[in-house]
C-alpha cells in the first residue's frame, strides 16, 4: 500500500453566522493515499466542500485534526497555510478563477514563478492539450478550455495533491469529459493524489475510491476494483 498523504481524524467544522450555528462537518475520519484518485460525492450542504477546503488549507477544522504528511494542518497559522498551499496544493474550481488580465500561458506562469520545482508553463499547457491557445486571454477561451488552463495552472508546480471542487460543474458533458481526461492523465502520469468533488454520480467510476457525504459525515465508501476511463463516462 502506498504511503498516506492525508490523515483526517474526527474533523468537525461549525460556522457561526449571527446567532445560528451550522454544523458543516460532524466528525470525518479518512486517509488518502499517494497516487490515489478519490471522488467525494454528496448533495449540496453535505460538507464535502468544507472538507476539501480544510484539506487545501483554506480553512481550519473546529476540532479533530488533519495531517498532511508530517505537517499538522490544524496547527498552521495564516502564513503557514499560505506556504502549504503554495508548495503542495493544486486547486481547480468550478468557475476556473483565472486571472482575466493574464493570457493562458501567463496564468500558468503566475504559479510557476513562485513554485519550488515547477515544470515549464508551456509543458503544463501541452499536458492539457492547449499549447495552441497559450497567448489567448481567458475571455477568448471556451469554458472547457478555461478549465483546462486552470488544471495546467494547478499541476504546473508539480503539486503533491490536486484538489478539484466541481471541476465540471459549469461545463456540458462533452467538455466535462475532456477536463476529466486531463485530470486522469495527470493522476496517472505524474502520480498526483487527486480529490474531486462532484454531485454528479456518473463521475465516481473514474476513481479508486468514492466517499459519500451526507449531513457532515462520510456515510459510505466504495472501492472501485477497476477504474473506467473518463471517455466512457456519461451524464
Amino acid at each position: 500500500m502506498a504511503g498516506i498523504v492525508f490523515e483526517a481524524r474526527d474533523v468537525t467544522k461549525v460556522y457561526h453566522t449571527g446567532d445560528v450555528e451550522v454544523h458543516a462537518l460532524r466528525g470525518v475520519d479518512v486517509d488518502l493515499y499517494e497516487g490515489e484518485m478519490a471522488v467525494l460525492l454528496g448533495p449540496s450542504g453535505s460538507g464535502k466542500s468544507t472538507f476539501l477546503n480544510i484539506l487545501g488549507g483554506l480553512d481550519h477544522a473546529t476540532s479533530g485534526f488533519v495531517r498532511f504528511r508530517d505537517h499538522m494542518l490544524s496547527e498552521l497559522g495564516e502564513g503557514g497555510l499560505t506556504r502549504y498551499r503554495r508548495d503542495h496544493v493544486g486547486f481547480v474550481f468550478q468557475f476556473y478563477n483565472l486571472i482575466p488580465s493574464l493570457t493562458a500561458l501567463e496564468n500558468v506562469a503566475l504559479v510557476t514563478e513562485i513554485a519550488r520545482d515547477p515544470m515549464k508553463p508551456a509543458e503544463a499547457l501541452a499536458l492539457v492539450g492547449l499549447e495552441e491557445r497559450a497567448s489567448h486571454f481567458p475571455a477568448q477561451l471556451s469554458g472547457g478550455e478555461q478549465q483546462r488552463v486552470a488544471i495546467a495552472r494547478a499541476i504546473a508546480k508539480q503539486p503533491d495533491v490536486l484538489l478539484c471542487d466541481e471541476p465540471t460543474g459549469a461545463l456540458d458533458s462533452k467538455t466535462g469529459v475532456r477536463v476529466l481526461e486531463a485530470l486522469d492523465a495527470v493522476n496517472r502520469e505524474l502520480g498526483t493524489a487527486t480529490a474531486i468533488i462532484t454531485h454528479n454520480a456518473g463521475i465516481q467510476a473514474i476513481a479508486h475510491r468514492v466517499f459519500f457525504f451526507a449531513d457532515g459525515r462520510i456515510v459510505d465508501t466504495i472501492v472501485n476494483d477497476t477504474r473506467v476511463p473518463p471517455s466512457e463516462v456519461t451524464w
Binding site: 478563477n97 486571472i99 482575466p100 503566475l110 471542487d165
Partner: protein, 790 residues
C-alpha cells in the same frame, strides 16, 4: 429617519455600505464648498466693510500734496466740477521717542480743523476726544499704535516736531479710513509699534511748522459718477504753483491699494481653488457610481422587470448623489464659515477697521451649494443614464467580460522582465485608460494645489534675499523733511557709530510713455554705490549710468518701456516741466515703482546743485543706542527705516499668516489625495476582489496580493507627480498674477524644494490611504469567491 419606500431604504443601506467612500467624496466636495464660501464670502465681507467704512467716514477720492498753499485755495478747489467736499490740512513726518523703546519710532502728524467738523477722512473715535484747538501738547493717536505700547488716555510720549522735542499727551484714540493698513516709511508690512498716526490741532501744528494760514495736504471727496481724471487735471492746474507733486486717486493711496490687493487675491483664490475640488468630486462621483451600478446590474434588471420605469431608476441613483452632495455641502458650510471667521480674525490683526463683521451673503451659500450639486450630477450623469436606459433582459445577464490586450511595451520584449503580478497591474491600468488618466489627474490636482500653496514661500524668500541682502544692504535709512545740501551727508557720516553713509535724492515725477503714465519718484544715486546696490533682471550688479534711467521690471511692464526707449518725465517739484531720458537698463526691484538715475544727472535735470533727501548708513552695532539718541535729536529727520527691525517684522508676519494658510492647504491637498486614492483602491478591490482572493488561494501571500493593487497605485501616484508639477506651475502663475501690484511685485518662483514638498505630502497621504485599503485585502474571504461566478 423613516423611509417608507423600499427603494429609499435600499438607498439608505447602500449609503451605509459605502459610507467611507461616500464620506471621502463628501469631504472633497466640502473642501470646494468651504474654499468658495471662504474666498467669495471673505471678499464680499471685506468689500462691504470697506465701503461702509469709507462711506460713513467720508474717505477721500483724490489726494494731493503741496509744499505750502494758502488757506483760500480750499475755496478754489471747492469750485472744481465734480468736487463735493475738500479738506486741507498739514501733514508732517516726525520721529517719536517712546519710553522704553531704544530705537526711534516713525509717525505722520496730521492736522484736524479746529473750529469746524472734518469734511473728509473723519475719525472714528474709539475713546477720548480730539485735541483742543491750539493745544500743542495734546494728541489723538491711532488705536493700533496705542495698543502696541499699552497707551491709554493720558499716556505721554515725546515727538521731535520740526527739530524740537515735545511731550505729547494722548487725549483720544481713533481709527481712520486712511490708515486701515498703516504702513510706516521703509517698512514692508505694518509695524504698529514703530509707526504712529497722530492727529493734532491745526492751529497748534501750523504754529510748530510755520504753516499758519497754509496747508500742505489736500483731500477731496467727489460727487457720484464724476470722472476722477478730469478732477485730477483741474486740481493739478490749481495746485501746481504751490509745489504739488500731482493729485492721485485711491488706487495710489497705500492703505486702499493694499486692501485692493487682498481683495484681488481672494478673487484669484475663488477662481482657482474651488473648481479643482468640484472637478475632482465630479470624477469621484462618476467612479463610485459606475461601480455601484455595475454591482447592482441585476437589481436594476429586476426593478425594471417589476415595472419600475427609467425615471424611477434614474431618480434613485440621483438621490444617492444628492445625499452624498448634501453631506459635503453641510460640512463645507460649517468649514467655510469657520475658516471665514478665522480669516476675519487675521484681518482684524492686519487691517484696522472700526468694525469687522463676517457676514456672508446667503447667495454665496446658495452659489456654493448650487455648483456642488451640479458637479455631482454632472459626474453621475453618464452612469445614471446607462443604468436607466439598460433593457431589463440585458441588465439581468452578467456584463461582458473585460477584454484585455497585450501592450505595446510587451512587444519590445520588456514584458518578459516583469512579474505576472506587475503585468496584471499594468494591463489593468491600460484596460480602463480614461479612468486611469482621470485618477492620475485627480492625484495631480492635489500636488498642484500644494505647489500653488507652497510656492509663495519661494517668492517671499527671493523677495527677502534680493531686497534685504543683495540690494538694500544698509542698516538704516534716514529721510529728511526737506531736501538738504551735501553737508547733510557729512553730518550723517559723523553720527556716532556710522561707518559709511550714502546719499539719495527722491524726486516726484510723472513717468510717461505715450498715454501710459505712473506717479513715482526718481531716486538719484551716487555713481559709485557702496551700501545700496542695483541688480539687473539677471541679478548681476549694475553700475549707475552717467545719464539715463534704470527702471524696474514692474515699471517697464506697466509703462511698456524697453531698454533704449525714451521715457517722458514730468517733474513735479522745483522747476517743474517735462524732459526726456533714455531707459538704460531694466533692473530687479520688488517694492514700489523703482526708477534710478545718477544723482548728478538728476541734479542737472532739475537745474539745481547737488542735494539729497535721505541717507543710507551702516553703523557699528556697539554704538547703536548712541546713534539712536543722536538721530532722535537730528533736526530735519523725518523718518528712519531700520533694516533689521523691518525684516524681522516681515518674517514674523509671513510666519503668522502664510503658515496658517499653508496648513489649510495641506489639509485640503490631503483631502483630495485621500478621496482619489482611497476610492480608486476600494473600487479596484471591489472589482478585483475575486481575482485577488484567487491569488491567495493559489498560495500568494497577503503582501504579494496587496502588491498587485499597490503597484497600480504607485504607477498612478508617480505619474501624477510631474503632471501635478506642471499644473501647479500653471496655478501658481495664475495666483501670482493677482499678487503683484504697483506697491510690490511678487516674483514668480517655484523652487524644486516646493515641488518636492508637495510630492512628499501627496505620497504620504496616498500611502496612508493605500494602507487603509490594504487591511481589507488581508480579510478577503477566500472561500466565498470560489463558489461564485464573477
Amino acid at each position: 429617519m423613516i423611509l417608507r419606500r423600499p427603494l429609499d431604504r435600499k438607498l439608505f443601506r447602500d449609503l451605509l455600505h459605502i459610507w467611507a467612500q461616500a464620506l471621502a467624496i463628501a469631504m472633497v466636495m466640502a473642501s470646494g464648498v468651504a474654499t468658495l464660501i471662504l474666498a467669495v464670502g471673505a471678499q464680499g465681507s471685506l468689500e462691504e466693510i470697506r465701503s461702509t467704512y469709507y462711506e460713513r467716514f467720508r474717505f477721500a477720492d483724490v489726494f494731493a500734496t503741496v509744499t505750502r498753499a494758502p488757506g483760500f485755495v480750499r475755496e478754489q478747489l471747492l469750485t472744481v466740477d465734480g468736487v463735493s467736499a475738500v479738506e486741507t490740512r498739514i501733514a508732517q513726518f516726525a520721529l517719536l521717542d517712546i519710553p522704553g523703546m531704544v530705537e526711534p519710532a516713525n509717525s505722520i502728524v496730521l492736522s484736524l480743523p479746529d473750529h469746524r467738523e472734518t469734511a473728509v477722512n473723519r475719525l472714528y473715535m474709539k475713546t477720548g476726544r480730539t485735541p483742543e484747538p491750539g493745544r500743542a501738547d495734546e494728541v489723538t493717536v491711532n488705536e493700533a499704535f496705542a495698543l502696541a505700547h499699552g497707551f491709554t488716555l493720558g499716556s505721554p510720549f515725546e515727538a521731535i516736531l520740526n527739530g524740537r522735542k515735545r511731550t505729547l499727551t494722548i487725549v483720544g484714540i481713533a481709527l481712520s479710513p486712511e490708515y486701515v493698513y498703516a504702513l510706516g516709511p521703509g517698512d514692508l508690512v505694518p509695524d504698529d509699534r514703530r509707526f504712529a498716526v497722530l492727529w493734532m490741532s491745526e492751529e497748534a501744528l501750523a504754529g510748530l511748522f510755520d504753516l499758519e494760514g497754509a496747508f500742505n495736504s489736500v483731500l477731496i471727496k467727489l460727487l457720484n459718477g464724476v470722472n476722477e481724471r478730469d478732477v485730477i487735471g483741474a486740481v493739478d492746474a490749481i495746485l501746481a504753483r504751490y509745489g504739488s507733486t500731482g493729485a492721485y486717486g485711491r488706487e495710489d493711496q497705500i492703505s486702499h491699494a493694499f486692501l485692493d490687493g487682498e481683495l484681488r487675491q481672494l478673487d484669484a483664490l475663488a477662481r482657482v481653488i474651488p473648481p479643482i475640488f468640484l472637478a475632482v468630486s465630479a470624477f469621484l462621483i462618476n467612479m463610485i457610481l459606475s461601480r455601484l451600478i455595475a454591482l447592482e446590474r441585476e437589481q436594476i434588471g429586476l426593478l425594471k422587470a417589476l415595472g419600475y420605469g427609467r425615471l424611477a431608476v434614474a431618480t434613485h441613483y440621483f438621490k444617492l448623489i444628492l445625499a452624498i452632495t448634501a453631506v459635503g455641502i453641510l460640512i463645507g458650510f460649517a468649514g467655510g464659515t469657520w475658516l471665514g471667521r478665522g480669516l476675519t480674525r487675521l484681518y482684524a490683526d492686519f487691517f484696522h477697521f472700526p468694525f469687522l463683521i463676517f457676514r456672508i451673503d446667503p447667495a454665496v451659500y446658495a452659489l456654493a451649494a448650487g455648483v456642488t450639486v451640479l458637479a455631482g450630477l454632472a459626474g453621475g450623469l453618464r452612469s445614471v443614464w446607462s443604468a436607466a436606459s439598460m433593457p431589463p433582459a440585458v441588465a439581468m445577464q452578467p456584463p461582458a467580460p473585460p477584454r484585455y490586450r497585450r501592450l505595446w511595451f510587451e512587444l519590445t520584449g520588456m514584458g518578459r522582465l516583469v512579474s505576472q503580478l506587475t503585468m496584471m497591474a499594468v494591463r489593468n491600468l491600460f484596460r480602463w485608460p480614461l479612468r486611469a488618466a482621470l485618477t492620475i489627474l485627480g492625484v495631480a490636482m492635489s500636488a498642484a494645489l500644494l505647489v500653488t500653496s507652497l510656492s509663495p514661500l519661494d517668492s517671499l524668500d527671493d523677495m527677502i534675499d534680493i531686497t534685504y541682502y543683495r540690494t538694500e544692504r544698509q542698516d538704516a535709512t534716514i529721510t529728511f523733511t526737506d531736501e538738504k545740501g551735501p553737508a547733510a551727508l557729512l553730518e550723517a557720516a559723523r553720527l556716532p557709530g556710522v561707518m559709511q553713509a550714502e546719499s539719495e535724492l527722491a524726486v516726484p515725477v510723472r513717468l510717461k510713455n505715450g498715454h501710459l503714465f505712473r506717479r513715482l519718484a526718481i531716486v538719484g544715486k551716487p555713481r559709485e554705490l557702496e551700501l545700496s546696490r542695483i541688480l539687473d533682471a539677471d541679478q548681476r550688479s549694475v553700475a549707475v549710468p552717467e545719464s539715463g534711467l534704470l527702471i524696474s521690471e514692474r515699471v517697464a511692464e506697466v509703462l511698456d518701456l524697453k531698454e533704449g526707449d525714451m521715457a517722458e518725465i514730468e517733474i513735479l517739484e522745483g522747476r517743474r516741466g517735462t524732459v526726456y531720458a533714455p531707459v538704460r537698463r531694466i533692473i530687479r526691484a520688488y517694492f514700489g515703482l523703482t526708477v534710478y538715475m545718477s544723482e548728478d544727472a538728476l541734479a542737472d535735470m532739475l537745474d539745481e546743485g547737488p542735494r539729497l533727501s535721505g541717507v543710507h548708513v551702516i553703523y557699528d552695532r556697539a554704538e547703536e543706542n548712541a546713534l539712536y539718541r543722536a538721530i532722535k535729536a537730528l533736526p530735519g529727520a523725518a523718518s528712519i527705516a531700520l533694516r533689521k527691525v523691518s525684516l524681522q517684522k516681515f518674517r514674523e508676519t509671513i510666519n503668522e499668516n502664510i503658515n496658517i494658510m499653508i496648513s489649510v492647504y495641506i489639509v485640503l491637498g490631503v483631502v483630495i489625495t485621500f478621496g482619489v486614492v482611497y476610492n480608486s483602491a476600494r473600487i479596484q478591490l471591489s472589482e478585483r476582489g475575486r481575482e485577488l482572493a484567487s491569488l491567495r488561494v493559489l498560495g500568494f501571500t497577503r503582501r504579494e496580493v496587496a502588491s498587485v493593487l499597490m503597484i497600480q497605485l504607485v504607477i498612478i501616484v508617480v505619474l501624477a507627480q510631474p503632471l501635478g508639477w506642471v499644473l501647479g506651475y500653471g496655478f501658481s502663475w495664475t495666483t501670482n498674477q493677482a499678487f503683484s501690484s504697483d506697491l510690490y511685485t511678487v516674483p514668480f518662483i517655484v523652487t524644486p524644494v516646493s515641488y518636492a514638498r508637495a510630492s512628499l505630502i501627496v505620497i504620504a497621504a496616498a500611502f496612508v490611504s493605500a494602507m487603509i485599503v490594504r487591511r481589507r485585502i488581508d480579510t478577503l474571504d477566500l472561500i466565498a469567491v470560489l463558489k461564485t461566478r464573477e
